[in-house]
Structure formats: structure tokens, C-alpha cells
């Protein structure tokens, strides 16, 4: 592992993106907590309408998926491409399960009329979680492309590519770790 300041795991450009994303989501969450002080009743009743079990299970899906990603990177570093590929598939499965459960949750909310304009809480809920879902979808596309790359016989995909895709995937995990307790549990 290179301890050079310009080479964090995944590359400096990706880490700049990670910090920008964390700051953006962080500021939005701080704003959400501020609005809770203005409308505590609305936030509390709205929070109780969310299914915290779905949120918890989704958190576990992303954590386990992140674990598989970390294992995949380690196998790739040790030139065990087949095992790395297997764990990459499991990583993507975790992401897919997250999206399936999120879709179920979204459809239920839409059926109840709890859409983006319902109240301030749901404006934050939809904006933050949908923005996160977009990141998960982009992450999955990146993982699929890396998976195809490492399974080619004459591949140009190297450890830097795998580490960069892993860093992006873990970023989705990190954002969710901040969103989950505040949106589903705090108010």
C-alpha cells in the first residue's frame, strides 16, 4: 500500500468526489435536523410512518455488500481473479437487493400519497434517498463494467480500477450509514 498523500486507496480524484458527496449529503442532513426543530410534530409523525425494519435490512444489505467488495479487492490483489469475480457478483447482488427493497418501500409510500410534496420531512426523505439510489445504480454500472473487465482473457483492468470502483461502492455505503439513523430513527 502506497502511503503517498496523492495515492489514497482508490485514487485521489475519487477521494475528492467522496469528500464532496459526503459534504453535500452532510449539509442536507444538518438542514433536515434544523427543519425538525421548526416542525417537530410533523417530523416525528412522518418518521413513524417509515418502516425502520426495511431501513435496517437495507443497511445490512449494503454493509454485507461492502464487505464482499473488500474481500473481492483482497483476492484481486493476490491474483485470485476467479474468487475476486465471485465476490464482485455477491457485492452486486447486495446492491440489487437494496434496490428491490427500496422500490418496494417507495411504491408503498406512493400508494399512501406520501410523495415529495406531502410535507417538509418527505421532501427531504425523497430528495436524499433518491439521490442516494442514483449513486447505487451508478455504482452497480461501474461494478458490472469492472466485472466484465477482470473476466476478459486479455484484460487491461488493473488493481487501480478495482480499487477505484470499490471506493465508489463504499461511498454509497458511507452515505447510507449517515442517512439511515437520521431519516429512519432519529426524529
Amino acid at each position: 500500500m502506497n502511503k503517498n498523500i496523492y495515492y489514497p486507496p482508490g485514487g485521489i480524484l475519487l477521494w475528492i468526489i467522496i469528500f464532496l458527496e459526503l459534504i453535500t449529503f452532510g449539509m442536507a442532513l444538518v438542514a433536515m435536523v434544523y427543519y425538525d426543530t421548526l416542525e417537530p410534530e410533523v417530523f416525528h409523525t412522518s418518521r413513524l410512518q417509515l418502516n425502520s425494519t426495511i431501513g435496517t435490512v437495507n443497511t445490512i444489505f449494503l454493509i454485507v455488500s461492502g464487505y464482499f467488495m473488500a474481500v473481492s479487492v483482497r483476492y484481486f490483489k493476490n491474483n485470485k481473479v476467479k474468487k475476486s469475480s465471485l465476490f464482485l457478483k455477491l457485492t452486486m447482488l447486495g446492491g440489487l437487493l437494496f434496490l428491490i427493497l427500496k422500490s418496494f418501500e417507495y411504491s408503498h409510500k406512493i400508494e399512501l400519497g406520501l410523495t415529495i410534496g406531502y410535507n417538509t420531512f418527505y421532501t427531504f426523505y425523497w430528495l436524499l434517498t433518491l439521490f442516494h439510489v442514483i449513486h447505487v445504480i451508478v455504482g452497480l454500472v461501474i461494478l458490472v463494467s469492472v466485472h466484465i473487465g477482470i473476466n476478459k482473457k486479455k484484460t487491461s483492468t488493473n488493481i487501480e480500477d478495482v480499487e477505484a470502483s470499490a471506493a465508489f461502492w463504499h461511498m454509497c455505503d458511507l452515505i447510507w450509514l449517515l442517512l439511515f439513523p437520521i431519516i429512519y430513527l432519529l426524529f
Binding site: M1, K3, N4, I5, Y7, P8, P9, G10, W15, F19, L22, I23, G26, L29, V30, V33, Y34, D36, T37, S52, T53, G55, T56, T59, I60, I63, V64, G66, Y67, M69, A70, V71, V73, R74, A166, A167, H170, D173, L174, L177, L178, F180, P181, I182, Y184, L185, L186
Partner: protein, 77 residues
């Protein structure tokens, strides 16, 4: 790999504890929930993302972000 397995178990355990804590409606639940989130965040960055092997700058940067985020949430909330 053994270390990763331990971290995974801790992360899942903290997630379940956080969900249970929120149901109990304890007085200081907010501190516990944010605290669990911070521990999980550090677990993912330092172990899954291997940040512990990176230059000190990146470790300090992530800890500063967490400090500012946590302080803001707790002060405003």
C-alpha cells in the same frame, strides 16, 4: 480476512442495536444513534476501504468531517 469478518459482525450488531434503541425512545437516544453511525462509518472507511493504510492526511480529513458533522447535528438537534 479474519479482521474483516470481525468488523462485519460489529457493523451488523451496531445496526440492529441502533434500530432497537430508537424503538425504546430513550432520553439520550440521539447520542447513541449518532455514536453508532460514527463507529460504523469509521469501520467502513478504515477497514473496508483500507484507509488505515493510507497517508495520515486522509485519515485526519475523514475524522475532521465526522467531527464537524456530528457537532452540527448534536448542536442543532
Amino acid at each position: 480476512m479474519k479482521k474483516l469478518n470481525i468488523i462485519l459482525s460489529v457493523l451488523i450488531l451496531l445496526t440492529v442495536i441502533a434500530a432497537v434503541t430508537s424503538e425504546l425512545e430513550m432520553k439520550y437516544a440521539v447520542f447513541a444513534l449518532i455514536g453508532f453511525a460514527i463507529i460504523k462509518f469509521i469501520g467502513v472507511t478504515f477497514f473496508f476501504m483500507d484507509l488505515r493504510k493510507a497517508h495520515t492526511f486522509w485519515k485526519v480529513a475523514i475524522l475532521i468531517f465526522l467531527l464537524i458533522f456530528t457537532t452540527s447535528i448534536l448542536l442543532i438537534g
